[in-house]
Amino acid sequence: MRIGLLICLLLAAGAVESAGPDPTDARVLKLKEVDADSISVDIKADMAVVDIGSTIYIDVSRDRALAKLGTVTAGASERTATLVKSSEALAGALARTNEELTQMRTAMAEWKPNPPPATLKMIQDATEKAAAPMSIIMNAATPGSRFHRGLEAALTDVPPEGLSDPELFRRIADVAATELEALRAELRQALQKEGVFFMLGAWIVGAGGNREVHLDGFDDIKPQDRYVLDRWSIFLTAEQQKQLDAIGRAADQFNSQGIGALVQSVGMPMLLEAFMRTTQSLEVTEKSAQQVGTTVVGLSDTVRTELTQTATELRQYRVYLGGLMRKYQGTTPASDSGAALLTGFNADLREAVLRARELSRKIGQVQATLASVPPALKPSVQELDKVLGLTATALKADIDGLAEGVASLFSLVRVNAELLEFSKEVKRHSVASLPSATLLDLNNTGRREPGDAVVFRFAVGRGEEKPTVVETHQLTMHRVLPHFDTTVGLIFARVPEAEGGSSRFQAAPAYSVLLKWGSRTESYVNTLVTPGLGLNLSALDFNRDNTPEVGVALTLSLFRNILQAGGGYNVFRDRWYFFFGVGLPLPNIGGLPTNASSSLPDP
């Protein structure tokens, strides 16, 4: 009966939840994904892939949370630290005991008078394993302690005829379980006094920014709108329909003026807009740096010089961007300028990005300098510090971000979990109030894109201090389950009988309905290969009479729909054709995302 009590205690306390060398042992959070097909997957790694429409079940181990206190020593009393250490050691030993005793009983059941060497060896091995955690338990009983007295009393009760080792060990474990409960009660009291708290937060992190999301029991964050990605939709969204119109115009432009005109008309507006935002920010910051450097009394000469130099560098970069804007604004593309335009554009982009990175580094240095000015001068430099920060952000987002366009297209979202901070809506739980479980239905986290991640962070702290994050889990969301993906894009169909002088390839707006699937284990399948098979419908015009002809094709799509190829049939002209489609390597150039998916919010 007491062994039952022991097991119940251990189970209730979570001490036996995963004995052995499994590295997940020490984790406070145990995550499980249940997808839309009701398939359940235990998430063992700190970084994993989940389906974008799954529900994540989170078990929170109070014991592991307490054990984490051992890693956060700041502010802990010696008594608390000792209690944490003792209870952790005892809980660990008890968990191992439970497992080893089963093995030991099995081995000893083989015993018979004059046992063969194999049986003796088996019993010795099992005894050695079971004795190890028992030894830890016995060594925890310091002479004169409550635990020592409890053990002595239990051992005194052993009958003169003796007990088998499994039975003896069980009695010792019973006393240890009682001691563990007492230690935990003491620890809870001590933690209460010290104001120890625990926090669990969840964030959706993606190309569109980061947002904290609601976890039942852990925060007062307002739930996001429910947003479900329809797995089996074959219809274009309103956004995709608009894009299809734009693609139709782009196709006309390609067919009549060539590739140069196409690139310039769709790519330049985005580039110029980014440059414009940055130059505005640079101007404000340049003036602020000049003003602080020349008017604030009490700054050292070194600081003044640094501010003047920075203002100069800001101005130089602003002038440089202005030159680029003039270069790409309002010029009429030459009919043969496609390759030259692309080469020049690439060189300019590279130069702009490199200079932006250098300037960002410089801004970081200036901010460090401003942080070290005497306290009396801080108010005078506060505004400059703020605008420097804004400019650094603009450089990062608008200039460096251009270079990251390709990366974002491949969902290579850089998640820096260290930057995620708990808002005031996240509750500070005591050990007693810490919920033991919660769940996050990803559909309730608002709009998200494949490649975005959900990040869980568990933190501990004391009193009013900032919490220390002791555990982070990052789950990248992809469309793992089979689904339809509708995409719109530009295809280049080979005209079977091109008339003299006209191109063999004709651009046409098209959309595809693709059957796609992802992988929980092979990340590149979700981020790079992204295979899809399906139907492609296009508006062809083989005879160039400006009357669209419907093309129906089978298509294979790869690389996030950047590359499509297939063969089809021009229904109106009774002609077979093959085609390829190329997505443009920036996520939203001039309203031409070729890989927009049919995501629909729940009605």
Partner: protein, 130 residues
């Protein structure tokens, strides 16, 4: 006083005592709890060690060597930690424990108070993997 699972080495025949001890150490698959010396306290310790020696299927055994000098040649051959061995040979301890692999694992010192916890702990030191 009841002695369970215990071999008491003869006082009057040193060679036989050494042979018995040697056999128990080398040929038997036990964790050995060896009590050294005479007197009522040692007798109590032998009894206590016997109580925690388990049932027949438990590979634990008690040896009472009432004269350390008598079995010294065997003790000098003991394997294991050199410091522990030195204490066995020079510090007149109350008892020591050998592992399944006949290695010296624990020594109960001359002045140590003996209770049930100490005896069980000594056995466990002999039983666990080093």
């Amino acid at each position: 006083m009841e002695f369970r699972k215990t071999t008491v080495l003869p006082l009057e025949d040193a060679k036989e005592a050494q042979r018995l001890l040697r056999t128990l150490i080398n040929d038997e698959p036990y964790v050995l709890f060896v009590v050294l010396g005479e007197g009522p306290h040692r007798e109590q310790l032998v009894s206590k060690a016997g109580k925690f020696a388990g049932l027949e299927s438990d590979l634990k055994w008690v040896v009472w060597a009432r004269s350390l000098e008598q079995v010294r040649p065997e003790l000098e051959k003991l394997k294991g930690d050199a410091q522990l061995k030195n204490r066995v040979l020079t510090a007149n301890p109350q008892a020591f424990v050998l592992s399944f692999a006949d290695e010296l694992r624990d020594v109960i010192e001359q002045d140590e108070p003996i209770d049930n916890v100490r005896v069980v702990r000594a056995y466990l030191n002999g039983q666990k993997l080093s």
